[in-house]
């Protein structure tokens, strides 16, 4: 492993992403958590660039850092803002947290063992050349049907979200 710029970039981005995640867990105010998450999303976009996926990185910034975060903020504001994430005092939940933490650590350990033993031979790739063009070609040729399905899905979820979020007319009023 050589100390290249790529390495430093990766380390910095990874650090930001993880710190953002940890802050998400530990901050007290809901809005702060969402803000912490933006750091993570942006850092992940940087990781995508390191992985020669410029178009995905752009979409990541647009959708996650932009749209989803904004939606979430709206959600928070429309419900009870600054709902303090107070420690639920009950013993059961404390035990559950501890158990869950152990479970997560165990799971991470098990998967890490898998990653550690995963044989990866690096094969030279040309993904960095005309990345956006290649993605567009793949989307509109090979994956055209899934792509259309995604658009249908998005439309359906759009309508569904509107119907769900619409204030229901009281039955007595409509009659």
């Amino acid at each position: 492993m050589t100390l290249t710029g790529e390495f430093f970039a990766f380390m910095a981005l990874a650090l930001v992403a993880i710190i953002g995640g940890v802050l998400l867990l530990n901050l007290n105010k809901v809005v702060h958590m969402v803000v912490a998450l933006i750091f993570t999303f942006v850092a992940i976009a940087g990781i995508y660039i390191l992985l020669n996926a410029e178009f995905v990185a752009a979409v990541q910034v647009l959708i996650y850092s932009g749209a989803i975060t904004i939606i979430m903020l709206f959600g928070i504001m429309l419900t009870k803002p600054y709902d303090d994430e107070g420690e639920s005092a009950s013993n059961g939940s404390k035990w559950r947290r501890i158990l869950l933490f152990l479970g997560v650590v165990g799971f991470a350990f098990a998967v890490y063992v898998g990653i550690y033993n995963f044989p990866i031979d690096q094969v030279p790739s040309n993904l960095h050349e005309n990345n956006t063009l290649e993605v567009g070609k793949a989307l509109y040729s090979k994956y055209i049907i899934p792509f259309e399905f995604v658009s249908v899905l998005l439309l359906a979820s759009l309508i569904g979200a509107i119907i769900l979020a619409k204030r229901e007319d009281k039955e007595g009023d409509s009659k």
Binding site: L37, V104, V123, L127
Partner: protein
């Protein structure tokens, strides 16, 4: 060739996934739970993109699927939040541990 091994990306994805998982299973605020799920989806996307570059047969397909996953995640976030709104109107709370009508 890259100076950062593929396993480093996978490990990062693992850590983010675990953080998301822990958050999704412990946080009381439903919005935060939703966000945590987004984080988990992101970790999966990192894996997809990593394998699109460092896999046995590098190709653009991994990135395309990351895009699909993002689209589905966006749709999920929108519908999830709409459901949350609807629930909040009825129960005046966003605490996930008070939403237990399904047990009856």
């Amino acid at each position: 060739m890259s100076s950062v091994p593929a396993s480093a990306f996978l490990a990062l994805a693992l850590i983010l996934f675990c953080i998301g998982l822990y958050g999704a299973l412990t946080k009381r605020n439903t919005v935060i739970v939703l966000i945590s799920i987004e984080l988990m989806l992101n970790a999966v996307n990192i894996n997809l993109v990593t394998f699109s570059k460092y896999g046995m047969a590098p190709s653009i397909t991994g990135q395309v699927f990351a895009l699909f996953a993002m689209a589905v995640a966006a749709a999920e976030a929108a519908v999830g939040l709409a459901i949350l709104m609807s629930l909040y109107r009825n129960k005046k709370t966003v605490n996930i541990d008070e939403m237990d009508q399904m047990k009856h």
